[in-house]
Amino acid sequence: MERIPRDSRNADNELRLKKLLLQGLDGDATAYHAFLKELSPYLRGFFRRRLFQWPDEVEDLVQETLLAVHNQRHTYRMDQPLTPWVHAIARYKLMDLLRARMSHEALNDPLDDELEVFGVSDADAADARRDLGRLLARLPDRQRLPIVHVKLEGLSVVEVAQMTGMSESAVKIGVHRGLKALAARIKGSL
């Protein structure tokens, strides 16, 4: 069922981002990159307003949410509006953080802020406190190498397989499990 957006600007943002995501899900890496890059400032704005007590946590939460969006992108349904999906993920990670920081605060959650996800764009990226690079470095080789090689050198799965001596499916599984392990380590370091 289509929601009627209160703000037409939110609707335009939603449409543009949804299109990029769908292209990305089909395998268009450039569109997916653009999607994640455009999503970041919205997440940042959304979290900054809700984490006014802990401004240092904002960038970490943005990164954690981006990782979650990536790891769970297979749960997005094409005919579903994008806003509730992103909002649910953002809110889930926000609640985790609030639960870890202060169990009381988690109960004070504004109910009707779903449509605000694409409302405020905050492009001013602070430094993240938690270094994902260090967490990544601590993954086992079979997970870290495929991720790093595909990213650093833009190699294909076949090329990475040849270079590392792993089979192609091991490379794919390494990326998949490695990014999930990274997300789990973030939770562990909370």
Partner: protein, 213 residues
């Protein structure tokens, strides 16, 4: 690592996604769970001796249809609850309707019986073991569904766990109907429902613990 670097890392590692990933995962879990229930049924209980005559008995089909309808609605609920931001919506009607119908049938049977006959209609002979038998047969599906949901993204883990538990319970009840010899609607309305409620409650409790992502 700053956020821009993370974004390029993720974009570089993005393979195309299977459109039906969620249904495939859940469907597979349901298949394995059903197989497990059938195996457990054969090993632990065995099918009823007069199974060959059952296809002619309408109540036998009711005993299968009741959990089957709940399983269908439960699957829809679980699929929606496994995705962030999707509300279960009208599924509550799909779950409530079979229960309501069976209760109406049970009520009618009780009204039509004499007061002396009513306890037998409700309790039968196996009322104490039936719910636990159903709960036992639901274990394979419970495990399989929780495994499936761990690879998905339920944002309401207690509700998702309860849904998975109910679905597993329905699978268990369906299998159990091949063993159980009770043939009254009141029995069905109380004890089969209890048997399905047990894994649902277990799912609600275990969901927040096990379904994190």
């Amino acid at each position: 690592m700053n956020t821009d670097e993370l974004v390029s890392l993720l974009a570089a590692n993005a393979a195309p996604v299977d459109r039906h990933a969620v249904s495939r995962r859940l469907g597979l879990a349901l298949a394995w769970g059903s197989l497990g229930a059938a195996l457990l049924l054969a090993l632990a209980f065995g099918v009823r001796a007069d199974l060959g005559q059952m296809p002619l008995v309408p109540m036998f089909w009711l005993k299968l249809a009741f959990p089957a309808c709940l399983a269908a609605a439960g699957l829809v609920a679980v699929a929606r609850l496994s995705r962030p931001g999707m509300r279960p919506g009208g599924v509550w009607a799909g779950l409530g309707l079979p229960v309501l119908l069976v209760w109406l049938m049970a009520g009618q049977a009780l009204v039509n019986a004499t007061p002396a006959q009513r306890p037998a209609l409700v309790f039968g002979t196996t009322w104490a073991s039936c719910p636990f038998g159903i709960a036992l047969l639901s274990v394979p599906a419970f495990v399989a569904l929780f495994w499936a949901m761990k690879g998905l993204a339920p944002t309401r883990p207690a509700l998702a766990g309860a849904g998975a538990g109910l679905l597993a319970g329905a699978v268990g009840a369906f299998a159990y109907a091949f063993h159980c010899t009770e043939m009254t609607a009141p029995f069905l309305a109380v004890w089969y429902l209890a048997g399905m409620a047990l894994p649902a409650m277990a799912g609600a409790l275990l969901g927040p613990r096990l379904l994190r992502w």
